[in-house]
Symmetry: none
Subunit: 211 residues, 4 copies
C-alpha cells in the first residue's frame, strides 16, 4: 500500500519517486525517533507511517543506525542554514541578538526542531558520529558567529563585560533551558520563553527603557 506519493501528483520520474519515498521515510523516522528514542523505535512503525514496506527502508539506508544518523543530519541542516545565514547587518548588536532570539523561538523552540536537539542530547553519547557532526556543523559555527557578535558589541560599547566573548555559551544558555523546559516541565509551569530571553539580553546589554 504505497501512499508516499499523493495520487494527484503527476507521474514523476523514477528518481523523483525514489527521492519522495526517501523523504517520507526520513520524516516518519524523525517522528518516531523523537517520540521513542533510538532503541525503542520500531522500523515497522517507521515504515507504516511512511506508507512504505519495511524492506524499502533498507533500499535507502544501510541499517537503523545509518537511518538515524542521516536523519539527524538531514534535520539539522535547515536549522543551521536558517540560523546562520542572516548575518547581523545594519543595526545594533542587541537588535541582531533580538532578531536571533525571535527566530530561534519561532523556528526551533516552538517546532519539532527542539525535539531534535533533545534527541541529540539524549542519544549523542551513544552516537559519537552525531555528536561530532553536531559540534562541527552547529555548535562550533554557531558559537563562532555568536563570539563575533559579542566582540562587535564590546567594541561598540554595547556590551560592557569583555570576558563574555570567552563564553558565548552564556548568551545561548537560556535558549537551551527553554528547549528542555518545553519538553519536560511546560505542563507543570508554562514558561514565557520570549520574555525570558528579553530579560537575559537586558542582563547583557543593560535594561532598556521599555517602549
Amino acid at each position: 500500500m504505497p501512499q508516499a506519493a499523493l495520487p494527484g501528483a503527476p507521474a514523476s520520474s523514477r528518481a523523483e519517486r525514489a527521492a519522495e519515498r526517501r523523504a517520507a521515510i526520513v520524516a516518519a523516522a524523525l517522528d518516531e525517533f523523537i517520540a521513542r528514542g533510538f532503541t525503542a523505535t520500531r522500523l515497522d512503525d517507521v515504515a507504516k507511517r511512511a506508507g512504505v514496506a519495511k524492506g524499502t527502508i533498507y533500499l535507502h539506508f544501510k541499517d537503523k543506525e545509518t537511518l538515524f544518523e542521516e536523519l539527524v543530519r538531514t534535520a539539522i541542516i535547515p536549522v543551521v542554514d536558517r540560523m546562520t545565514t542572516p548575518p547581523p547587518i545594519g543595526g545594533s548588536v542587541r537588535e541582531a541578538l533580538e532578531a536571533f532570539a525571535k527566530t530561534f523561538l519561532r523556528e526551533v523552540v516552538a517546532t519539532r526542531r527542539a525535539d531534535i536537539i533533545r534527541l541529540i542530547v539524549a542519544e549523542g553519547p551513544r552516537f559519537p558520529a552525531i555528536a561530532d557532526f553536531y559540534y562541527r556543523e552547529v555548535i562550533s559555527r554557531g558559537l563562532a558567529a555568536m563570539r563575533g557578535l559579542i566582540e562587535i558589541g564590546i567594541a561598540r560599547g554595547e556590551i560592557r563585560l569583555g570576558e563574555l566573548k570567552n563564553f558565548p555559551q552564556i548568551v545561548v544558555a537560556p535558549a537551551i533551558v527553554a528547549i528542555v523546559w518545553k519538553s519536560l516541565f511546560e505542563r507543570h509551569a508554562p514558561l514565557d520563553a520570549n520574555e525570558m530571553l528579553r530579560v537575559h539580553l537586558d542582563l547583557i546589554f543593560g535594561a532598556r527603557s521599555k517602549p
Copy 2:
C-alpha cells in the same frame, strides 16, 4: 558469583545484606542506564555488574520501569538535599551564589550526577512520573530558593535587574549548559565551567575588580 558484599565486611544481618544488594543493583543500573539509555539497557548486564542473579533484581523491583524510576529518585534525593540544605546566611548574595556554583560544579557537573540529569532530559518525556517527580522535588524547590536569593539581591541593591526574579532559570542556565557540554562536546572543546559561571555572575552582579 555473589560479590555484593565485600569479603572483609563483618557478617551482616539478613536485612543489611538485602539493603546492600539493593544498593548494588541500583548502582549498577545507574551505570548501565546512563551508558545506554532505558530501552537499550539489559537487565542481564545490570545483574552481572551488580554481582547478582538476574532474578534477584525482581525481588527488589517490580520491573525494569520501576527500577528505572526508583533509581532516578534514589540518585536525585541526595543532590537535592546537598544543594538545598546549606542556606546562604551571613554574607552577600553574590557570595552565596558563588558558593552554590562551586558546590554545583563539584557535586554535580564533575560527577555522575550530571549524567543523571542528562538521563532525565533524555528519558523524561517517556516517563512522565519521572519528569513529575523531578519538577516537584528539584526544579520547583530549586527555582524557589533561587528566586528568594534574587529577591534579597534586588532588595540589597546587589542585583540591578529587577525582572530577573521572574526568571530564576536564567541564573541556572549556564550550569545546565555546562552539563550538556560535558557529556557531548568536552572532547571537542574543553569548557572551563568554573570560569563560565564566574563570568555569568559578573553579568548579574556587575564585574568585580579581579583580585
Copy 3:
C-alpha cells in the same frame, strides 16, 4: 530450515504457501498441546516440529492462547461436519445410531480427535472461550440431533423408555468413556469399544437376535 512445503510440490503462490505454513503450525501445535497440555507446550517445539521459525508463528497467531483456541476450533469443525451431516435416512433409528457409533469409533475414538476432546476436558475450565465454542458448536448441536433421533425412535416404538429423550447424554455416555479409557487405561486393559457400544444399543433398543 523451511520444510513446510514438500519438495515435490509445484511452486505454489504466496498465499498458498502461507496457508500451508499455517496448517503446518496448527498440526504441530496440535501434537504438542495434546502431548503436554497448554502450559507445558513450548512454542519453540511447535515451531521446530512445523519446520518454521519461532517468529513465524506470530505472523499467524497473536499469541499462544490464540493459537490454542484457533487450533481447537480448526480441529473440531471437520468432526462436527462429519458427524452431523449424514442424517438418518431410510432405515430404523437403531441402524442410524449404529452407523453413528461406527463413524464415531472410526473417526474420533481411533484418531487424534479423541485427544482433542480430552484436551478440551483438560483445559476447558481455564479457557472458557473454548468451552463456550465447544458447547455451542458440538454439544448443543450434537445433543439436539440425538434427541431428534430418540424421539423418532420413541414414536416408532423402537425405543420403549420415553424419558430417554430428556437425556440424550445417556446415549453418548459410553462413547465418552471410550475416549477417556483409550487415553488412560488402554494399556492396562484393552477395551472393545465397538462391542461396548453395541451392548449399549441393546440396552436402549432391546437385544437383537444375533445374526
Copy 4:
C-alpha cells in the same frame, strides 16, 4: 507467618505439627492444581495458601511432581473407601445401584472430588504413575465390584441383558458424563444428574411404575 495450626489448638507434638503442615500443603496444592493444572500451578501460591514457607514444601515432598502424585493418591483414597465399603446388603441390585448413584452424586459429582477425576483425565497421560495408580486402586476395583453386582442382577433376573456384565463401564458412563458436564457446560445448560442416573437405571432394569 505460619498459620497452619489454629491458635486455639493445644501445643501439639513436633510430629503432629509436621503432619498438620503436610496436610495443609496437600490441601492447598489440591486447590491450586485443580484450578490451574499441573504446569501452571506455582508452588509459591501453594505455600501461601498453606500458610507455609516455600522451602517447607521441599521438607515434605521431593519436588513438584512428587507432591502432585502423592496428592492425587491422598485425595483418591477416601473416595475409594467411601464408594467401595458399603457392600450391597439385603435388597435388590437396583436398590444397591440406586444407593451407589446417590452416594456418587453427593460425594463425588457435587464435591471437589469431581475435579480430582477431571485432573486425572487431564494430566494422566503425562503422569503414567498416576494413571497406573488410579487404574489399580479405583478403576479395576470399582469395575470388579460393579461386575459382581451386575452378575447378581442377571442371576436374579433383575437385569435382562446378560452381555452387560462384560461392560460394567456402561453402568458408570453417565456418572462420568455428569462430572465432565459439571466442569464445562453447567452454566450453559444445567444438568439434572440425579434424574439422568435414574433414567439410566430404568434402561438397565426396565422402567418402574413411578411412586
